[in-house]
C-alpha cells in the first residue's frame, strides 16, 4: 500500500519537475511581455525530438543535448525578434493568436522532419535505485535534478542578480529597468531565451521516459500553465510547488482511478483554482479594478 503510494509520488514528482520548468518559462515571458506563450510546450518537444535525432545519427548524448538546448533557445529568441516584437499593441487576444500560430508552425515543422511517431532520447547514465521497495529510475533523478539546478538557478538569477531584478521590474517599471541598465528589448529577448532554455531542458530530460511527439507540446504547455496559475503567474516558487503537486495528483489519479483520466486532472484543478482563487495560491486578493 505505502510502497505503491511512494512509488506514485516519485513518478509524480519527476513529472511535476517537467511542468515546473515549463511554468518557469511561461512566467518569465509573462512578467515581461504579458504574453501567455502557447508555444512553450513546443520548445520541449523540439528539444526532445532534436536530441533524439542527433543521438540516433551518432552524436554523443550530452553533446546532442547541448546542441538541442542551444538551438531551441535560439528558436525562442527568433520567435521574439521576428514575430512578437513586430506587433505594436499586444492585446491578450492578439498574443494568444500569434503564439498559437507559432505553436502550430513548430508542430508542423516537427511533423515534416521527424514524422508522426513518438521518439525518445536514450536513457541518461546512472543506475536505478531501490529504497524500501520503492524503485527510483535514474532518469527520474535527472528530471528532478534538472528542476533543482536549472529551475533553482533561474529563481536565484531573478532574486539575486541585478539583471534578474531588473527583469522583474521591467513588467511594472520599464523606466526604472532602463536606469538599472536593461532595455525593454533586451529584457524581452532574455525572457524568451529563458523560456526556450527551460522548455528545452524539460523536453530532453523527460524524453527518455515520456517520449517526445510532434503534437505533444500543447498538452504539456497547458500543464505548465496550470502550475503557473497556481503561482498567480508571478511567483516562481509557488508555481514550482504547484507543478509538483499537479504531477503528484496526476500520478495518483492514474494509479488509483484510471490511467486514461490522468490528463483530465489538470483541467479540473485549473477550473477549481480559477473559481476559488484566481489570484493564485500565495498572493493576497486585490480589489483594484481600474
Amino acid at each position: 500500500m505505502l510502497t505503491d503510494f511512494l512509488q506514485l509520488t516519485v513518478a509524480g514528482l519527476s513529472q511535476g519537475s517537467v511542468y515546473a520548468l515549463l511554468a518557469v518559462g511561461l512566467i518569465a515571458v509573462y512578467t515581461v511581455r504579458h504574453v501567455i506563450n502557447i508555444a512553450q510546450g513546443e520548445f520541449a518537444m523540439l528539444a526532445g525530438l532534436g536530441s533524439a535525432w542527433l543521438t540516433a545519427s551518432g552524436m554523443p548524448l550530452f553533446l546532442a543535448i547541448l546542441v538541442a538546448i542551444l538551438t531551441v533557445t535560439l528558436v525562442a529568441i527568433a520567435m521574439e525578434r521576428l514575430i512578437i516584437a513586430r506587433v505594436k499593441k499586444l492585446t491578450p487576444l492578439i498574443s494568444i493568436i500569434l503564439t498559437l500560430g507559432v505553436s502550430t508552425l513548430l508542430q508542423a515543422i516537427m511533423l515534416l522532419i521527424w514524422g508522426p511517431e513518438a521518439k525518445g532520447v536514450p536513457r541518461f547514465p546512472g543506475t536505478n535505485v531501490l529504497i524500501g521497495g520503492v524503485s527510483i529510475r535514474s532518469q527520474e533523478f535527472w528530471m528532478i535534478g534538472a528542476l533543482v539546478v536549472v529551475g533553482g538557478g533561474i529563481v536565484l538569477f531573478y532574486e539575486k542578480s541585478r539583471w534578474g531584478k531588473a527583469l522583474r521590474a521591467c513588467a511594472e517599471q520599464p523606466v526604472a529597468a532602463r536606469i538599472v541598465g536593461i532595455s525593454p528589448v533586451a529584457a524581452s529577448v532574455l525572457a524568451f531565451a529563458i523560456a526556450g532554455l527551460v522548455g528545452a531542458v524539460a523536453g530532453v530530460v523527460s524524453s527518455p521516459i515520456y517520449l517526445s511527439l510532434w503534437s505533444g507540446g500543447v498538452l504539456l504547455g497547458l500543464k505548465g500553465f496550470v502550475a503557473a496559475v497556481l503561482g498567480g503567474f508571478v511567483s516562481f516558487r509557488a508555481a514550482i510547488v504547484g507543478a509538483l503537486m499537479l504531477g503528484m495528483i496526476e500520478a495518483y489519479v492514474a494509479g488509483y482511478v484510471a490511467s486514461g483520466l490522468r490528463d483530465g486532472a489538470a483541467f479540473l484543478i485549473l477550473i477549481l483554482v480559477l473559481v476559488v482563487r484566481p489570484q493564485g495560491l500565495v498572493l493576497k486578493p486585490t480589489a483594484v479594478r481600474v
Binding site: 487576444l93 511533423l111 515534416l112 508522426p116 480559477l274 484566481p278 479594478r289 481600474v290
Partner: protein
C-alpha cells in the same frame, strides 16, 4: 455599423422601405450565398462539392467563434470541444435513443450550450487569457471523456448515423445535403449579423473600447459576455450536428485541438468581428487545407498526417502581423478607395463654434427621484488604502438633490479615487456609499448606473470604434430593453431609431450636431470631453459625476458647459464635479468640499470655503498671507 438613415428620413418611409434600407447588406449578401449554393451542385466536381459542404458546416462554429472574439473580446481555443459535444450528443440521441432528427439535433445544440454555460459561469468573470486556456483544457477533457466512456464508443466512436429525410426525400448525396444545410447557415448568419448591430452587440463593442465607460453606462459586461459565449457554443454544436449527419461517424477526432485551431484560423482570416468574414474564412481554410494536403507531400516526400498545419501556422502569423483585420479589413479598405457617387466628404471635426451665444438650444431630460433638497447621495467613512498609503481617509459627505457639489483639492488629494469608489470602479477599503437609499459601494459600476448614477472620466474613455452619435447612443443603453434574443431576431429597429433620435437631440444641447457622424477619435480633446458629458446625460441620470469636465475646453466651450450645468440643476439634476478650475467651481457650485491628502478638510457654501484658512493653506502653500494674495490675483485673472 448602422445603415445611414437619419431619424427624420426614416420617419417618412414605409415600414418595408425602412426594413430594406436597414437590412440591405444582409439581404443582398444572403441572396447571393443562397443562389451560389443552389447552383453549386450542378456545376462543381465531387471534390469541390465535398470541400464546399465542409466549409458550410464549419462556417457555423466559425460564426460562433467570431461573435465571441469580435463581440466579447475573448478567445476560445476549444471551439472543437463544443462541436464534438453537439456531434456526439446528436449521434447518441439518434442511434441509442432513436429520437427523431430535429429533437436529437436540438438536444445536441443545447448540450453544447449547457457545457459552455457551466464553464463560462466562473471563467467569464476573469479577463485576459483565462478563457482561452480553460477552453483549451476543455478540449482535452472532452477528448479524454469520449475516449474513456462506453456510451461514446471509446476510441471507435459512434457510427451508423442515418442520413436525414426531408418530406420523404432522403438526403443521400452531397447536393441534397448542401441544400439541406444552407438554410440553417443562412439563418445562423442573419441572427449573428442582427446581433452585432443590436443593443447588446453595440454594448459589447463599447466594452471592448472601454470596459469602464461601458459599465458606468449600465452594461453588465459579465452577463453579456457569458451569453455570447453560450451562443457561440450553440453555433459550434449545430455545426457538430450537421457533421455527424454528413460523416455518419463521430470519433474522438472531432474534439481535436487542431480542429479548434482551424476554426480559429477561419475567424482570423475573415477578420475579427466580421460575420461575413467568418463564412469567407471557412471556405478559404477548407480550400487551403485541401491544397496543402496535396501540395506538401509533393514537396516533402513521405510527409503524412496533419501537414496542412504548416500552412495554418504560417497564415495565422502572417495575417496578424500584416493584415490584423483579415479579409474584412482588405475588403473595406478596397471599397473606400473605389469612386462612389454620393459619398459624403468628411466634415471638419475641428471646426470651432464662432458665435458668442451660450444659450442651450435643447435641454436633455433628467430624472428626479427624490424631492429637491432631500439627500440623494450619502458617503460615510469612505476610506481607500493602497498598502500603507491612505489615498482617501474617512470621508463623510451628504449631497442634497438638485444641487451642484464641487469637489476640489490639490493634485493627489484623492478626488478621482473618491469618484471611482462612488461609481463602483473601485472597491473601498472601508465605508459605504448610499445612493437613493441603496448601498452601491463595492458593487460594479453597472449597479450604480442601474440606480441612475452616471459619470465622465478625467482620462477620457471614448468608444473609438464608433462615431460621435454612436457614443451618445450608448448612453441610452439603460433606456433600452432589447436583449440578446430580440437583438438576434432583429425586433428592435423602432427602439433603436427612437434612441438614435434622442442621441442627436442631446448632441444639439452641446452644439455637437455638426460632428455627430464623425469618428469619435477624430474629435479634439475638448469636444471629446463634451461628447462624454452628452453620453452621460443620454442616460437621463439622477446623479451626474463629472471628473474635470472643463479640462481641455476652450473659453467659449467652458461657458456652454457651465450654462448647461446650471440649466440641468434648475431642472432638478444633482451634479458632483471634480474640477481644477477653482473659480469656475466657486461660481457654479452650491456646496464645495475640499480634500487634502485624502482628508475632507472643509465642506460648505463657496463663500465660507473660500475663506477657510485650512483650505487656503492646503491649496496655495503654507504662508497664509501669501496664499490669499495668490488667490485674489487668480480670481482677478479669471
Amino acid at each position: 455599423m448602422t445603415q445611414a438613415t437619419t431619424p427624420a428620413l426614416a420617419g417618412m418611409l414605409s415600414p418595408w422601405a425602412r426594413f430594406w434600407l436597414n437590412n440591405k447588406g444582409t439581404i443582398i449578401g444572403c441572396g447571393i450565398l443562397v443562389v451560389l449554393m443552389i447552383v453549386f451542385p450542378f456545376t462543381a466536381s465531387s471534390t469541390a462539392m465535398n470541400i464546399v459542404v465542409f466549409a458550410m458546416i464549419f462556417a457555423l462554429p466559425a460564426i460562433g467563434l467570431n461573435l465571441l472574439m469580435g463581440l466579447a473580446g475573448q478567445v476560445s481555443l476549444g471551439q472543437a470541444a463544443f462541436f464534438a459535444i453537439g456531434a456526439y450528443t446528436h449521434a447518441i440521441m439518434l442511434t441509442k435513443l432513436h429520437l427523431p432528427g430535429p429533437v436529437a439535433a436540438t438536444i445536441g445544440v443545447l448540450a453544447a450550450m449547457l457545457v459552455a454555460f457551466l464553464v463560462g459561469l466562473p471563467i467569464m468573470r476573469l479577463r485576459g487569457h483565462y478563457l482561452a486556456l480553460a477552453t483549451l483544457g476543455l478540449g482535452f477533457i472532452v477528448m479524454i471523456g469520449v475516449r474513456e466512456w462506453d456510451v461514446t464508443g471509446r476510441t471507435t466512436g459512434i457510427y451508423g448515423i442515418a442520413r436525414p429525410t426531408v418530406l420523404g426525400v432522403p438526403i443521400d448525396n452531397n447536393g441534397f445535403f448542401l441544400w439541406f444545410l444552407t438554410p440553417f447557415v443562412v439563418i445562423g448568419l442573419i441572427l449573428a449579423l442582427n446581433l452585432t448591430r443590436s443593443r447588446a452587440g453595440r454594448a459589447l463593442s463599447a466594452v471592448n473600447d472601454s470596459e469602464l465607460a461601458a459599465e458606468s453606462l449600465g452594461v453588465n459586461t459579465y452577463a453579456l459576455r457569458l451569453k455570447v459565449f453560450v451562443l457561440s457554443a450553440g453555433f459550434a454544436g449545430l455545426g457538430g450536428v450537421f457533421y455527424a449527419y454528413q460523416v455518419a461517424i463521430v470519433s474522438p477526432a472531432t474534439a481535436e485541438f487542431h480542429l479548434s485551431v482551424s476554426i480559429l484560423l477561419m475567424v482570423v482570416i475573415g477578420g475579427l468581428g466580421s460575420v461575413w468574414g467568418a463564412v469567407a474564412g471557412a471556405f478559404l481554410v477548407q480550400f487551403l487545407g485541401e491544397g496543402m494536403r496535396d501540395a506538401i507531400p509533393a514537396i516533402f516526400p513521405g510527409a503524412t498526417g496533419e501537414v496542412q498545419l504548416l500552412g495554418y501556422g504560417i497564415v495565422l502569423i502572417l495575417v496578424i502581423l500584416l493584415l490584423p483585420g483579415g479579409l474584412h479589413q482588405a475588403a473595406t479598405s478596397l471599397w473606400a478607395k473605389l469612386p462612389f457617387p454620393g459619398r459624403r466628404p468628411p466634415a471638419d471635426a475641428h471646426a470651432q463654434a464662432t458665435e458668442d451665444d451660450f444659450t442651450i438650444p435643447i435641454l436633455p431630460n433628467v430624472s428626479t427621484p427624490v424631492a429637491l433638497g432631500e439627500p440623494i447621495l450619502e458617503i460615510s467613512g469612505l476610506t481607500k488604502r493602497y498598502g500603507g498609503v491612505v489615498a482617501v481617509n474617512e470621508v463623510n459627505l451628504t449631497v442634497p438633490a438638485g444641487t451642484i457639489l464641487g469637489l476640489i483639492g490639490p493634485n493627489g488629494a484623492g478626488k478621482t479615487t473618491c469618484f471611482n469608489m462612488i461609481s463602483g470602479a473601485l472597491v473601498p477599503t472601508s465605508g459605504t456609499v448610499t445612493f437613493l437609499g441603496q448601498v452601491i459601494s463595492g458593487r460594479k459600476p453597472n449597479v450604480a448606473a442601474s440606480h441612475g448614477l452616471t459619470r465622465t472620466f478625467q482620462n477620457l474613455q471614448v468608444f473609438t470604434s464608433t462615431d460621435v452619435v454612436g457614443n451618445v447612443y450608448m448612453g441610452r443603453y439603460r433606456q433600452g430593453t432589447a436583449g440578446v434574443l430580440r437583438g438576434m431576431l432583429g425586433l428592435q429597429s423602432a427602439e433603436q431609431t427612437a434612441h438614435r433620435a434622442a442621441a442627436y437631440e442631446i448632441l444639439e444641447s452641446m452644439r455637437l450636431t455638426d460632428a455627430a457622424d464623425d469618428s469619435a477619435s477624430d474629435l479634439s480633446f475638448g469636444k471629446q470631453r463634451m461628447m462624454e458629458v452628452c453620453r452621460a446625460l443620454a442616460a437621463e441620470p439622477a446623479l451626474l459625476l463629472l471628473d474635470e469636465p472643463m479640462a481641455g475646453l476652450s473659453g467659449a466651450e467652458r461657458e456652454v458647459m457651465a450654462e448647461l450645468l446650471r440649466r440641468l440643476r434648475s431642472a432638478g439634476l444633482t451634479i458632483v464635479l471634480v474640477e481644477h478650475d477653482v473659480a469656475q467651481v466657486m461660481s457654479l457650485a452650491d456646496h464645495v468640499a475640499v480634500l487634502d491628502d485624502g482628508v475632507l478638510i472643509a465642506h460648505g457654501d463657496p463663500e465660507s470655503v473660500r475663506n477657510d484658512p485650512a483650505v487656503v493653506v492646503a491649496y496655495l502653500g503654507t504662508d497664509l498671507d501669501e496664499a490669499e494674495a495668490d488667490l485674489n490675483e487668480l480670481e482677478e485673472h479669471v
